[in-house]
Symmetry: C2
Subunit: 279 residues, 2 copies
């Protein structure tokens, strides 16, 4: 296609992966980097990178229209922004009444409101997997190590917990061992939760020689799958290993693997299983 | 009443509080202490304390019948037991098929199965609050400090999260600040969660000068309220203070306050509110 795609880039490796994918496809794109997200450091020669401030979102829309952008993909982490009121331009100020009420209603509501703004500008919002389908792996166990019966039971229970939690717009992950919930993902994220399992919660496994447990990750049932699809990568495997877990289970079609080859290789090296589980 | 009450005593101060209450009422009682629960150290002269092993539960029933016990109250914490198979007597072995399947289905199922065993023995199982009604405080704010509008909003969100989690038989508490879920209670319990907020999650509050957040606690919707009603006490106030929270909110009628006077005094001294909130 000849449509110009804009990557709205937050923190992390996902926006870089998308830019590389589009570049490899020969598809025209530009990157609009959220101020401070750190994308520019990874940019390659020939890429167009434009920073923008959330306080001047209206100027971003003007820029996207000027350049002829028709499709946008929102990618990467966004720490909840602290807006500086004196930087907000008049046009952006008119958009705020549509965003601010959603902020208090959780991530899903906020992202839906942001997507609606882009769509009202006539832009098509697509998910990262529409740009790079390899991000969503096919169902199956990806590693030499396979989950045991106990691990499958723990995955079942974790899946039910995460689905329940997601309905309350809390987290996208949980750790279950021997049928018991050791940890639930909240605002600090996956790595903080897995560190806590390593340091504190792991000692609560009833049988020290029993099943070591699984980290399960899935998108929230209500979330717009075009944005904020959860992701794992090699660092997740390291953290799950430090937490003493038997493996990682992700919902098929709902969780991306960043750098899939390295992720699988690390899991194999550490004797963890990586299971892309059909919900 | 002249019925003999047995306190089935696990860890912690609740069984001791119940024994003192019954003694003060002049009501006849005995204490059956789960081996290793540490009750005996707090026993007062004249109290009857009999230890028992979970592997010999049938012998406990025989003893209760021999003594003429008609009413039992299960009180105090019970770490998930590791049974020693060689200690299990033949009569208790016959009870195990009713308990073991429930163990894998979570705390609620396990406790329901245990209660059913006592009831099948013809014993009446009552809640701790039936013995000591002062454990369940009346609705209202118990402290000088009152919750702000923001705190009330955080309490609303936390109450919804805990109700949702409870339906999945996970935890009985959550920490919410500025509308965001910082932590959810899992197997390691309240103190471990509040420590984690103090050390890690607290730094994720979006506005460092904004609402500090609340710790909310409620029973699970499906749990049998005769057993395992959650409880707070002075140590909970200390932990909430270390976590930088504005206050503690408990569901009226569903959460006990152990040593209510000292708990309120500690909250007042640390400028936290303590709110017994009608659901």
């Amino acid at each position: 296609m000849n449509d110009l795609t804009a990557i709205i880039a937050g923190r992390g490796v996902l926006p870089v992966h998308l830019a590389r994918t589009l570049a490899a496809q020969g598809a025209p794109f530009l990157v609009a980097e959220i101020e401070g997200a750190g994308f520019a450091a990874s940019a390659e020669p020939g890429w167009t990178v434009e920073p923008f401030a959330l306080e001047r979102l209206a100027l971003l829309f003007d820029m996207l229209h000027d350049r002829g952008v028709t499709r946008v993909v929102l990618a990467g982490g966004l720490t909840r922004p602290r807006l500086e009121p004196e930087r907000i331009d008049p046009k952006t100020a008119q958009l705020l009444p549509r965003i601010l009420p959603a902020l208090g209603q959780g991530d899903d509501a906020t992202l839906r409101a942001v997507i609606a703004l882009f769509e009202d500008e006539g832009l098509t919002v697509v998910g990262a997997d529409a740009v790079a389908p390899d991000l969503l792996p096919a169902p199956g166990v990806q590693t030499y190590v396979q989950p045991s019966q106990a691990d499958m039971g723990d995955a079942d229970r974790a899946a039910r917990i995460v689905a329940t939690l997601g309905a309350a717009d809390v987290g996208q992950g949980a750790v279950v061992a021997q049928g018991l919930c050791l940890a639930v993902e909240t605002l600090p994220g996956t790595d903080a939760m897995l560190d806590w399992v390593a340091q504190v919660a792991g000692a609560c496994r009833p049988d020290p020689n029993g099943a070591r447990g699984v980290f399960y990750k899935a998108p929230k049932p209500e979330q717009d799958r075009r944005v904020d699809l959860p992701a794992i990568g090699p660092a997740t495997v390291e953290a799950a290993h430090r937490a003493g877990l038997a493996g990682i289970v992700i919902e098929a079609g709902g969780v991306m693997i960043l750098d899939a080859e390295a992720t699988r290789a690390r899991a194999d090296a550490l004797d963890l299983f990586l299971w892309v589980r059909s919900p």
